[in-house]
């Protein structure tokens, strides 16, 4: 196929066009931020997420007793209720629960980030391929396989997979990832089947662009914002599922603190030592709430942009 010829004039035009695009992008960002900041719930979500991430990153420096995140024992100070010295109280072997909750944020965030990193690329790729070859056997094979994974409650299969492997954080992340990719495949599949009939895709086809070019340069950029929105919402859900796995002991292994494990262990000491399960439980609620508020805010923003 004929390549478009480039003259100096065209190059200048291109530079000018790029400059325009950049400035309009800046303007869009400013406008989006303004809209986002009008919703107090979205801002609250952003603040919660920012605080949780900072706490997790700086855990060794901001927690009152960083040593308590490991195999530490201090029986003289065990089972103490919340006080100024130990804001969230201490557990049955004398570790500060506030410290352990903040360290627990680390693995919760790692869970969310790693699962999404494992899930999004293959999920999106399969969705692009199935959507672009809609109606062929490729589409049938890929989408029927996603059907199987979507047809069962994800938590059960994730648990089953995690349980037959060695229980640790990595394996539970693998198990959740195995259950999570079909959602991205289905999302991108739906978008791609619509986009492939758009003129810009048709024209790229006529110009003889390769399939890879069409999938990644023409279709994918138009799927980015829904994918991104889903990712920000999914952070919360993955952390929630992760906490359920860790609740039954599949996930972060002691003595490292896992939020779900702390709740499960603490539940044995109800009602007398109520602070042992309650504060880690609130930790889970706060982190999931933060990502949900933020994700909903982003979704509203992108939905409004499309209108």
């Amino acid at each position: 196929m004929a390549q478009p010829t480039t003259s100096w004039g065209a190059a200048a035009d291109l530079r000018h066009y790029r400059e325009l695009e950049r400035s309009s992008r800046r303007e869009n960002f400013g406008r989006a931020w303004y809209k986002f900041s009008r919703n107090p719930l979205s801002v609250a979500g952003l603040v919660i997420v920012a605080v949780v991430v900072l706490l997790a990153l700086l855990a060794p420096y901001v927690t009152p007793y960083p040593k308590h995140a490991g195999p530490f024992t201090d029986f003289a100070n065990a089972k103490l209720p919340p006080s100024w010295k130990y804001l969230f109280g201490t557990d049955t072997i004398g570790r500060d629960i506030l410290t352990r909750v903040i360290f627990g944020f680390q693995d919760a965030l790692v869970m969310g980030i790693v699962v999404l990193a494992l899930v999004v690329p293959p999920g999106v790729l399969l969705g692009l391929v199935a959507g672009y070859f809609h109606g062929t056997w490729i589409d049938t094979v890929i989408m029927r396989i996603t059907d199987i994974f979507l047809a069962v409650p994800p938590l059960v299969l994730a648990l089953a997979i995690a349980s037959v492997l060695v229980p640790n954080l990595m394996n539970s992340m693998m198990a959740v990832s195995l259950m999570w990719w079909p959602w991205y495949t289905r999302l991108v599949f739906g978008l791609t089947t619509q986009l492939r009939n758009e003129y810009f895709v048709k024209s790229a086809e006529t110009m003889g662009a390769s399939t890879a070019h069409i999938l990644f340069k023409e279709i994918l950029p138009n799927c980015v914002s829904p994918i991104f929105t889903k990712m920000s919402l999914d952070m919360g859900w993955v952390i929630l599922i992760g906490s359920s796995l860790s609740f039954v002991g599949l996930g972060t292994q002691p003595p490292k603190p896992g939020l779900g494990t702390m709740v499960a262990d603490g539940a044995k000491y109800l009602p007398d030592l109520w602070w042992i399960p309650v504060f880690p439980a609130l930790g889970i609620v706060v982190i999931v709430l933060g990502f949900n508020l933020l994700g909903d805010g982003l979704r509203d923003l992108l939905a409004a942009e499309e209108v």
Binding site: I148, V164, A267
Partner: protein
């Protein structure tokens, strides 16, 4: 006519999905863990015991042959012996499933009733105080795991207020009514024992509500959003202009179309509740199948894992078909969709 073809289509699709699910479960229970025979006898057993068991379990056959044998057994309800309870797995399932079913049914009713009521109130008073309150509560409901609700309820209603019993299905001292359905509340009614019914009902309440909270919140959110969408539709304005009383518009013309998305999600939530029940069963010491499944998973009891996952998968698929049928009945566009060409 269309309904029959609809059911047939769904049934064929479900069989395909079930087969796929069975492959996944086979891989989980026979391929992933390494050597199931070694796992069954423990690390210290001598090699000849393992070899004998491998022979017995037909583990020396090729994987496709093993899968075929496993599938034939599974279809006949034979999952082998549980390493944990030393009983037939199907017997265990029969014993533990009703407890989880009772919990999930109660939770499902709560999710539907409370969710729809709250969502309707919220939509009718959109952007007023009460709407904002429902929205904030449903946010918290969606993001809070069931086991967190379980612990909070237990502390408040069980230990602080002493309103509800905290453990088990029935108080000590009460005899369990003869098991007919396996649901203690229903059995008590059938046996004509109101005291046992009330006691069982109280035991059921906390775990069921804890389990239902997420679903109630979800259903309320969906009902609110579809209903407030529908409230702005022209046909509602037309009905108002015709002077039809607001109450009639609400109950007759608005509720039905607004419930379709809610019912779809309610079905999914109910089916998921069955399998997620362990999150509260563990805390309330509820002898359900979900807790049994978790214990099997923690002890690597492969036969039981395979059976429990398959049972939950089948229930999930069946519930989905039922939901599709109900929705097709409610939604004339789906019911009559193909009818135009007749």
């Amino acid at each position: 006519m269309q309904l029959a073809s609809f059911i047939l289509h769904r049934a064929i699709h479900s069989i395909f999905v079930l087969l796929g699910l069975s492959v996944v479960i086979f891989v989980i229970s026979r391929v992933l863990p390494g050597d199931p025979a070694r796992m069954a006898v423990g690390a210290r057993a001598p090699q000849w015991v393992v070899d004998n068991l491998r022979e017995q379990m037909h583990l020396n056959d090729s994987l496709p042959v093993q899968y075929a044998n496993w599938l034939v057994d599974a279809v006949h309800g034979q999952f082998g012996i549980s390493l944990n309870t030393r009983r037939d797995v199907s017997q265990d399932i029969q014993e533990f499933f009703p407890a989880t079913l009772e919990l999930a049914l109660y939770a499902g009713v709560l999710m539907g009733a409370m969710g729809i009521v709250l969502g309707t109130i919220s939509a009718q008073h959109k952007d007023k105080m009460i709407d904002n309150l429902v929205r904030i509560l449903s946010y918290l409901g969606v993001v809070t795991p069931a086991f967190v609700f379980a612990i909070i309820f237990m502390l408040i209603f069980g230990y602080a207020l002493h309103l509800l019993p905290t453990l088990g299905r029935l108080s000590e001292g009460l005899t369990r009514p003869p098991a007919i359905t396996g649901l203690v509340t229903v059995d008590a009614l059938l046996a004509g024992d109101p005291r046992a019914f009330w006691d069982a009902f109280l035991h059921l309440s906390m775990p069921a509500v804890a389990l239902a909270m997420g679903g109630i919140a979800q259903e309320a959110r969906i009902t609110r959003s579809t209903m407030s969408d529908n409230l702005t539709k022209d046909y509602i304005a037309a009905e108002r202009a015709l002077g039809i009383p607001e109450r009639v518009i609400m109950s007759k013309f608005l509720l039905k179309p607004s419930l379709i998305p809610t019912i779809s999600i309610l079905g999914l939530d109910f089916a998921a509740t069955l399998s997620n029940a362990f999150l509260v069963e563990l805390i309330f010491n509820w002898p359900g199948l979900s807790r049994y499944g978790i214990n099997a998973m923690l002890k690597k009891d492969l036969n039981a894992i395979a059976a429990v996952v398959l049972v939950f998968g089948v229930v999930f698929i069946v519930v989905n078909i039922l939901v599709d049928l109900v929705v097709a009945q409610l939604d004339p566009r789906i019911r009559l969709g193909a009818g135009r060409s007749e």
